[in-house]
Symmetry: C2
Subunit: 341 residues, 2 copies
DNA sequence: CTGAAAGCGCTAACAA
DNA sequence: TTGTTAGCGCTTTCAG
C-alpha cells in the first residue's frame, strides 16, 4: 500500500526509534520523567526526520478535551464583531486554544444547528456573542453542561456568566453629557425593542432626561435599527424632528454615521446646528470629519475577558459571576454646546 | 461513578435501544439501508431521550477527515478580513464544514506555529489569506500534502491555487479612469515594496501613465502603507506634492480615507481641487461624504470561491488553477474632471 | 526508566 | 436486516 501520503503515527515513530509508544508519548507531551535525556534526543531526531506530528483528535479521545473554543456570533460583516473576535482569538491562542467560529448573519434559525455541531465537535466551551440566548439554547447547553459565556448580552435571572457593558447607565451617562453641554431638546435614534441593546439604551436615554426633569417626547424617539443602512428608512421621521432639537443620541455608531451622512447631504452643520452622539466607539468614528463623539465600549477587551472567564471555568469548574465592563463617554468633534439662537 | 456528567456514547444508546452500535451508526449517518423504518424510529427516540450526540472526533479517527477548514489571516481588525472571512464561513457552513481561524496580527513569526496546530488538529484544508506564502510554509504544507488555497495573494511559479484580483491591471484600469477624466498630474499613495499588493498596484499606476505617454515622477509616488493610521506619517510628503497634482490614487481605501481626512481638515476640496481614488471597495467607502471612488474587489466572493476550490480539492483530489476574479472601477463622488485653471 | 495493553467513541467490513 | 469485531492514533495505568 502507498503509505507515503499518510501521516506517520506514534507507533511508527516508536518502532523506528526502537522504543515503545508510551515513551514517545511521554516525550512529545513533555512529561518530566519517564525517559533519559539520551532517548529523548534520539526520539526527537526520529520525529523530525519522519515529519511526525501528533494527531490531536486521537489525543482528544483519551484526554476528553479538544483545546477548541466555539464562537457564535450573529454578524461577521459588521464593524463590531471583528474587534470582539480579535480579543477572543488572541486570548485563546495565548492559552494554547483554538477558535471555531460560526455566524448566523441574522439567521437565528440556524443557531441551534451550529450549537449542535459545536457540541459534536466537543468544543471545550462556547462564547456566545451579542444575540439573545434563547431558552432553547440555554437548555441545550445546560443539559450537556457545556461551559458558556455570553458577550455583550445577558440572560437575566440565570447564572450564566456574561461580559458586557451595562448599557442603560452607559446610555444615561452619554445623554447626561449632552445635557451638561447645555442641550435640552435631545432626540434619539433608537434600536427598537431589541432586548439586549435596543431597550436598555433607550431606557438610559429616558433616565437621563428624567434626572434633568425633562419629559420624554415619544415622537423624538425614532426607531431606526442598528446599521448604517437602516437610517435612510427613517429619513422622513428624522426630517420632521430635526428642526426642533439640538442633539441626537444614536443607538450605535453606524446609525450615528448614517445620520451624520444625512446632515452633511442636507446642509445641516454638525455640531453647529446639531450635535451627534454615537455608541460603541468603533474605529471608524475617528476616520470621519467631524470625528464622532460616542460611548466607548471596550470591544476587544470584552473578547479577552470573556475568554479568560471561559478558560477559568474549564480549569476551576466554578461558574463565575457576570461582569460589567467600564464604559466611557468620549466627546469628540460631533458634539458641542447648542448655539443660542 | 458519576456518569451523569458524561455524554452518552453510541454503545449506551445501542444497549438502551437493544440494537447493535452498527445499527445506531447506520441510522445517525443516514445510510440508506441496514435497518427497518421501525428500528429507526425507535432508535431515534432513544437518542432523543438520552440526549445523545455523536462524538465527531471519534468519527474522525476512522473516516480520516474532520470537516474543519483552517483559515489563516494576518488581521482580524482591518475592515478587509471580515468580508473575506464571511465568504469563507458561509460557504463552509453551507457545505457542512466548520472553520478554525487563526490570525497573526502582523506577527509573521507565529504563522508556522499556527500552521502546525492546524495540521495537528487535522484540518481538511487551509485557506491562506493575504500574506505572502513563505517557502517555509509552502514546504510544510507540501510535505504533508495539506490542500491549501491562497486568497488575495499568490506565490508565482508554484502550482498552488489562489483566488485574487489581478492587482496590476486593476490598478492600471483605475488610473486609466482618472486619465480619461482628464487628469494628467496624478500622484500615488503607495504601499511600499510589499510583494502581494504594494508593488503590483504601483506598477499598474505606472502602466497607465506610460500608456498615456506620461512619465512617472518618482517624488509623486509616496510610500505610505495600507492603513488609515499610516497616513499621518506621510503628511509632509503629501503636502509637498498636493499643489502640483489634480488626483491621488491610493493603494487602499483606508489610505484613501486617511487622505480624504487630510483634505477635509486642510480645506482642500474633494473632488473640486483634487480627486481621490481608492482600492478595495470596503463598505465604508459609501459611508463618508463625499463617497469614495475606488477599485472594487469582490472580497466576500473571493472567500466563497476559494472555499469552493478547496472543497473541490478535497473531493476531486485535483489541484485547480489559480483564478483572477474580476475587478471593477467604481466612480463615485470623490472623483471628477480636473477644474481648468 | 521502559513497555504491554486497555481503552477513548466510532465506523466499516464481514458474517450471520 | 442485523450484530461482531477490528481497528483509527493516542494516553495512561500497571508491571517489570
Amino acid at each position: 500500500v502507498d503509505i507515503s501520503h499518510r501521516n506517520p503515527t506514534i507507533k511508527e515513530v516508536a518502532k523506528s526509534a526502537s522504543v515503545s509508544t508510551a515513551t514517545v508519548s511521554r516525550i512529545i507531551n513533555g512529561l518530566p520523567s519517564g525517559y533519559t535525556a539520551e532517548t529523548k534526543k534520539h526520539v526527537l531526531t526520529v520525529i523530525d526526520k519522519m515529519g511526525y506530528s501528533p494527531n490531536l483528535n486521537a489525543r482528544t479521545m483519551v484526554t476528553r478535551h479538544t483545546g477548541t473554543l466555539g464562537v457564535m456570533l450573529p454578524y461577521l460583516s459588521s464593524m463590531f464583531s471583528p474587534l470582539v473576535l480579535w480579543g477572543i482569538e488572541e486570548t485563546a491562542e495565548m492559552n494554547g486554544r483554538n477558535v471555531l467560529i460560526s455566524h448566523t448573519e441574522a439567521n437565528g434559525r440556524l443557531t441551534m444547528d451550529y450549537l449542535k455541531v459545536m457540541h459534536e465537535k466537543r468544543v471545550d466551551g462556547i462564547l456566545f456573542v451579542s444575540s439573545f440566548l434563547l431558552p432553547e439554547y440555554k437548555e441545550f447547553v445546560k443539559r450537556r453542561n457545556i461551559p458558556l459565556v455570553q458577550i455583550s448580552t445577558e440572560l437575566r435571572g440565570e447564572p450564566i456568566p456574561f461580559v458586557r457593558v451595562n448599557d442603560r447607565p452607559a446610555a444615561r451617562d452619554g445623554v447626561r453629557a449632552l445635557l451638561e453641554l447645555g442641550h435640552r431638546r435631545i432626540a434619539m435614534l433608537a434600536g427598537g425593542d431589541d432586548p439586549v441593546a435596543g431597550i436598555p439604551r433607550t431606557e438610559g436615554y429616558r433616565d437621563a432626561l428624567r434626572e434633568f426633569g425633562i419629559s420624554v417626547r415619544e415622537d423624538w424617539v425614532i426607531d431606526v435599527g442598528f446599521d448604517f443602512h437602516d437610517v435612510p428608512r427613517a429619513f422622513d421621521r428624522i426630517k420632521a424632528v430635526l428642526p426642533q432639537v439640538t442633539a441626537f443620541f444614536c443607538v450605535s455608531d453606524e446609525v450615528a454615521l448614517g445620520f451624520l451622512n444625512y446632515c452633511q447631504r442636507h446642509g445641516v452643520s454638525v455640531p453647529g446646528q446639531v450635535s451627534i452622539l454615537g455608541y460603541d466607539d468603533l474605529p471608524m468614528t475617528t476616520m470621519v470629519v467631524p470625528t464622532l463623539s460616542t460611548i466607548h465600549q471596550p470591544l476587544r477587551l470584552m473578547g479577552q475577558r470573556a475568554t479568560q472567564l471561559l478558560l477559568g471555568m474549564l480549569e476551576g469548574g466554578r461558574v463565575p459571576e457576570g461582569e460589567y465592563l467600564a464604559h466611557r463617554v468620549v466627546l469628540r468633534e460631533s458634539t458641542a454646546s447648542p448655539s443660542q439662537e
